[in-house]
């Protein structure tokens, strides 16, 4: 640093801590709320310090039933969320790797057209074509199924571009060396390309996992059967119970459980997460 002004440094630290506290505030509150019995909320404001009913609430929602009109326990919905998140993540990565591979390492007619078709998906987020997409999926009989939850979301221009970028940086001589070593397209793909792209894949994995886990609108539309509810969308169903009957402690516990996996991924794999975020925007 150019100048050493202790008070400036102090202010910086203080501001950052304040920022952290503000950012953490709602989660803190939710955590506190989840430790009080449901009855505590009817009588007035949310308690500000931990209660003693925490274990009980958490156990109930996690293993018995999520409550507020949903009989399924959270762990089942967690499993659904996991299936959907992993399905979307692996699906996106797999088909993007393959298309980027085709576009970079082969020459064929309409190559550019294919590239543009994939690019178009960037311009068509689910949110703007909700109704017709729903109709298409309904026509294909994919409502209330894992396929319906994942398949329509796995086209990915971003991932394809990212892998294309990554492949373009691989020196041509390496490809030639592999050809001389007797590696055909598939061997080259699995033996050379995949291992060389593994950090990119991992970084993208983190971003896509969060994306998949946090899907809200899509599962909300196409699941009507509890057995396929995902955790994030279940909150909406829980909130639609009559006002007086909402068990806030259970909602808070469920909310916290719903955000736990992706938050853990971000914190645990911070480096990959940051890389993925930056790469995805290039």
């Amino acid at each position: 640093m150019i100048e050493n002004r202790p008070w400036l440094t102090f202010i910086s630290h203080a501001t950052l801590m304040l920022g952290i506290a503000l950012v953490a505030l709602p989660v803190w509150m939710a955590l506190v709320a989840s430790t009080h019995p449901a009855s505590a909320f009817g009588v007035g404001h949310i308690p500000l310090w931990f209660g003693s009913a925490g274990m009980e609430t958490w156990q109930t929602v996690l293993f018995e039933q999520a409550g507020n009109g949903i009989d399924t326990p959270v762990w089942v919905m967690m499993l659904n969320s996991l299936v959907m998140a992993l399905g979307i993540t692996f699906g996106k990565i797999a088909i993007s790797l393959l298309s980027a591979y085709a576009i970079v390492f082969f020459r064929f007619p309409f190559r550019n057209l294919c590239f543009w078709i994939i690019f178009m998906t960037l311009m068509l987020p689910v949110e703007v074509r909700i109704v017709p997409t729903y109709q298409v999926v309904a026509n294909l009989d994919l409502l209330n199924s894992y396929t319906g939850l994942t398949l329509p979301l796995i086209a990915s221009a971003t991932a394809t571009f990212l892998f294309r970028q990554c492949f373009l940086s691989i020196p041509g001589e390496l490809v030639e060396a592999a050809r001389i070593d007797g590696a055909g397209p598939w061997r080259f793909f699995f033996d050379i390309l995949l291992p060389m792209s593994r950090t990119n894949i991992a970084a993208l994995f983190v971003i896509l996992f969060i994306y998949g886990w946090n899907q809200y609108l899509w599962p909300l539309l196409i699941t009507t059967d509890d057995a396929y509810y995902t955790l994030v969308m279940s909150i909406k169903r829980m909130l639609s119970v009559n006002d007086g009957d909402i068990a806030w402690n259970q909602i808070m516990a469920t909310t916290l459980l719903a955000m736990l996996p992706p938050v853990a991924v971000v914190i645990g794999m911070q480096k990959l997460f940051v890389k993925g975020l930056v790469d995805a925007e290039k």
């Binding site: 920022g19 178009m120 809200y216 909310t255």
Partner: protein, 292 residues
């Protein structure tokens, strides 16, 4: 890069999954939306009638639609500007500190991983007029908070919830941008006698402008589309129409109002908007690539 494999059929096989998914779940629905926008369909989908541009005419003469546009603009720019200001401020502070930078970063970026719907629910309860601590505190400070009734307050609430989630993203990019500012420039400015604040506004901030512009576009896109969950889990567009953004309206008119033609016409308009935003974003990225 000129080295390629000679196979001719294989690339099609490789592209097939992506192209199929794109065609079935993206292009086909988009085409359907285009088509439906020119038809009037009854609520049960039993009969439909070609109505030409009527859906669009209706849309663009509907004051509610203009109101929704305005709501979207207010909402999006509030989210973008608020999120960016707070994040920039925190990033500048984080850039200053030497010790604990990574810890601060960790503790600031995790909200990125929280689903928008959940973010909405968390703040919704903090501000709940009957039990939320913040609403109570505001009440004792003389502000009568009730986002169930007051449209402006509902808007403030969804803006806060949406911003909260996006700060982490802006923070990361601003911090990276700040760290890329050459030390020598700042040193030169301080030798020229500029105070830290002046240095920031005259040297650092202008150098950050590519990052700022990029984030502005990304934040607008985020506020447009990805905050659907925030609104749906909390205000559901209300009270009245006060938080009914364009994206939410497509959903509401289509799924709840069952006005398929009107919803499709809105979809078409939105696609055009996303198209423009995407092109802007792409242009910008191209430029960024050229510079680097």
């Amino acid at each position: 890069m000129t080295v390629t494999f000679p196979q001719k059929g294989l690339p099609w096989l490789l592209l097939l999954p992506q192209l199929l998914v794109t065609a079935i779940f993206f292009l086909w629905p988009a085409e359907q939306a285009l088509e439906q926008a020119f038809y009037q369909e009854d609520a049960f989908g039993l009969s439909r009638e070609f109505v030409g541009l009527e859906n669009f005419v209706y849309l663009f003469t509907d004051p509610l639609y203009y109101q929704s546009m305005l709501t979207t603009l207010v909402f999006s720019f509030s989210v973008a500007i608020m999120g960016m200001s707070v994040a920039l401020f925190l990033a500048v502070m984080a850039d200053r500190v030497i010790r604990g930078k990574l810890t601060y970063q960790t503790l600031l970026i995790w909200p990125y991983a929280v689903a928008p719907a959940l973010a909405g629910v968390l703040w919704w309860i903090l501000f709940d007029p009957s039990m939320g601590p913040i609403a109570l505190w505001l009440g004792s400070a003389g502000v009568d908070w009730n986002h169930y009734l007051d449209g402006n307050q509902a808007m403030i609430l969804v803006v806060i919830a949406s911003t909260w989630k996006q700060i982490s993203y802006n923070f990361l990019f601003f911090l990276a941008g700040l760290q890329a500012v050459p030390r020598s420039l700042i040193e030169a400015a301080s030798i020229d006698g500029a105070s830290p604040v002046k240095r920031f506004w005259t040297i650092v901030f202008p150098l950050l402008s590519p990052t700022t512009f990029f984030l502005l576009v990304v934040n607008l896109v985020y506020a447009f589309f990805e905050t659907f969950g925030v609104i749906d889990a909390t205000t559901k567009g209300g009270p009245g129409q006060s938080t009914n953004t364009l994206v939410y309206k497509v959903f509401e008119d289509g799924f709840i109002g069952l006005d398929l033609g009107g919803s499709a016409a809105q979809s078409v308009v939105l696609m055009a908007i996303v198209g423009v935003l995407t092109v802007i974003q792409f242009r910008f990225i191209e430029r960024k690539v050229q510079y680097s």
